[in-house]
């Protein structure tokens, strides 16, 4: 493979002006939460660094991550990032197909061993020796392990790769397994979301390429700059939450007034993501702004914590009846209360029938 040109060379080849380039650098610095001084550092890195090869694998997934990625709305990013990376393999975006494509993959693996970034969209199913997801005639798990062995770092795109997502929801028949449970010996950057925000995806890659290190991660392995706060912490409906003003039904007076969607099941208080700050589609909106509660798509187990439109998750009882914590609680209190009444009645009866013994009953609590 020919040695990739620097990022800046590629930008210029694409007809991007110096001015737009500088603008991109300062916007990137801002979106990464860095001080303006870093803009020149980013520019310098882009002018001198060679493009880093990126391999983009797809396992069990729906391609929403790729779809989100290509809509990155920051100035030029949808064009630029594709050229910035040397995207050597990607089912969705590459021109090659079949054996040609697999050959390109093999070539990167050999010639850029230890240098390339492995971006994984989706996850491998482990049941039946991985037969539920076949790529290039082989179980995906084999391709994943092979490519991870030579990678510098692994980026787990989306909730599938980070947490398992819908295919790993109970009962997980194919045993779909998130990347960090399969690849143990490489740094893994989780970028959860279903899909992740486009600018978050490009932001994470830009950080890694320019600073040549992985971004600071939180306890669960997510980049702090995008997953450091909950939706709820920066939600513009938060004053209604604190005041105690909630939409009580879809399209009622309160929801038209833009009250908090907590009672309608909003998962903002338990969801770490940047939607309420970065927003979607070039900052146009995000679910809560459009009147729909957050479903917590970037959180682990979010499919199992449904229903999305109720505050409490359904809890599966041993009897197979679906319920929630409050319903189970109230029912238990009822049963125990009835038991207490019956026991009290029986005690009184015994005492009445056998007054001599009365003083002798009881055993100290």
């Amino acid at each position: 493979m020919t040695s990739p040109a620097t990022f800046y060379d590629v930008f210029r080849q694409q007809g991007i002006s110096r001015r737009s380039f500088n603008k991109f650098c300062s916007l990137t610095a801002a979106s990464l939460g860095l001080s303006p001084a870093f803009a020149s550092e980013i520019a310098h890195a882009m002018e001198t660094k060679r493009r880093t090869p990126v391999i983009w694998l797809n396992g069990l997934e729906c391609t929403c991550c790729s779809e989100s990625f290509i809509r990155s709305g920051h100035p030029l990013v949808s064009d630029v990032v594709l050229s910035m990376l040397s995207l050597d393999y990607s089912h969705v975006l590459m021109a090659a197909a079949g054996h040609q494509a697999e050959a390109a993959l093999e070539e990167t693996r050999r010639e850029h061993a230890g240098e390339y970034i492995l971006a994984v969209e989706g996850n491998p199913p482990l049941n039946e020796d991985g037969m539920f997801c076949i790529v290039g005639g082989r179980p995906f798990i084999e391709q994943l392990q092979e490519m991870a062995a030579g990678a510098k770092a692994v980026v787990a795109w989306g909730s599938c790769a980070s947490n398992g997502c819908v295919q790993a929801a109970k009962p997980n028949p194919t045993q779909a397994t998130p990347i960090h449970k399969v690849i143990k010996d490489k740094p893994i950057i989780k970028v959860p979301g279903c899909p992740p925000i486009a600018e978050v995806m490009t932001g994470v890659l830009t950080y890694m390429l320019t600073f040549d290190r992985i971004p600071p991660l939180d306890r669960l392995g997510r980049p702090k700059m995008f997953y450091g706060q909950r939706i709820h912490d920066k939600c513009y409906r938060r004053p209604h939450f604190d005041a105690g003003q909630f939409a009580e039904a879809w399209d009622d007076e309160n929801s038209r007034k833009g009250y908090c969607l907590y009672k309608m099941g909003c998962r903002g208080p338990t969801t770490y993501n940047a939607c309420s700050t970065v927003r979607w589609n070039d900052g146009v909106s995000f679910p809560i702004q459009s009147g729909h509660g957050c479903i917590g798509c970037s959180e682990e187990n979010f499919w199992d914590n449904g229903p999305f439109y109720e505050r409490l998750a359904s809890v599966h009882t041993p009897l197979g009846v679906e319920s929630n914590a409050d319903k189970i609680g109230v029912a238990t209190v009822g049963v125990i209360g009835a038991g207490i009444v019956a026991h009290a009645a029986a005690s009184a009866l015994q005492r009445a029938r056998n007054p001599d013994n009365a003083a002798k009953t009881g055993a100290g609590e």
Binding site: A243, Q245, L312, A325, I340, Q350
Partner: protein, 249 residues
């Protein structure tokens, strides 16, 4: 006063008698000092906090009807949560204090934390108590502290869920403070352990119902025993002294 009361008044630390068998009394004194002041104080502070936490906790998950008017004129939900967090922190500190006391207090002070589940004799006594509550045994045994069944219930449906609600509660509180906070550094591991924040909410919530069910049984049994049994209960948690009604001086 009989001599047993003097000896049980003396502090016997946890190290002194690691096995916290309930003490069955053969020939008891008329009154015995059971619950020391720190234990009684904890009991009532804890009870008050639990009432506040259950009411506000329930409302946190099922908020009251919306307040009218501008958002800036009301802080209703904020206040409900504030009371919850404040009571939660008091309860957590009180529990810490109680755990420390288990090490330095008398032999009853660590009973609820350490049921001797490894002792076959003890399980036999639990079974005896079960039959007694089912009216199958006529004459109960007498205990200075908790009877074995009560000890098991205290541990299983009270002490454990209380620890669960405290740790999950402190973790949820840490989230509010932010992931860079000291709180989060101290309690963030709860999320790594349980997976996600919402599951932590659900577990925190379920532990509330376990504690409510325990409290119902606890209050019923305490009042019933106080009326029907051979010893005092409710007043014991106030004065610390257990009286045996059928003993003559």
């Amino acid at each position: 006063m009989a001599s047993t009361s003097e000896s049980s008044k003396k502090s016997q630390g946890l190290l002194h008698s690691l096995v916290s068998h309930a003490t069955e009394v053969e020939s008891p004194a008329t009154k015995v000092y059971v619950y020391e002041t720190p234990v009684r104080l904890w009991h009532w502070v804890n009870a008050l906090c639990i009432v506040l936490l259950c009411v506000t906790g329930y409302l946190i998950a099922a908020p009251p009807p919306s307040v009218p008017g501008e958002a800036s004129f009301s802080f209703l939900f904020g206040n409900i949560r504030l009371i919850h967090f404040a009571a939660g922190e008091v309860l957590a500190l009180a529990l810490l204090y109680r755990v420390i006391w288990a090490f330095i207090g008398n032999s009853h002070a660590h009973q609820i934390f350490l049921p001797p589940v490894w002792s076959i004799k003890w399980w036999g006594e639990v079974w005896h108590e079960v039959r007694w509550y089912l009216f199958l045994v006529k004459v109960p045994k007498k205990y200075v502290g908790h009877n074995p069944l009560a000890q098991l219930a205290m541990f299983g449906i009270f002490v454990l869920p209380l620890f669960v609600s405290v740790f999950t509660g402190l973790a949820l509180n840490a989230e509010g403070e932010g992931i860079e906070s000291l709180w989060y550094q101290a309690f963030g591991w709860v999320f790594a352990l349980l997976g996600d924040s919402f599951t932590v909410h659900t577990i925190h919530h379920i532990s509330m119902w376990v504690i409510i069910v325990f409290s119902m049984i606890h209050i019923y049994v305490a009042v019933r025993e106080d009326i029907m049994s051979r010893q005092s209960l409710v007043s014991t948690m106030i004065s610390g002294w257990r009286y045996f009604k059928d003993d003559k001086e």
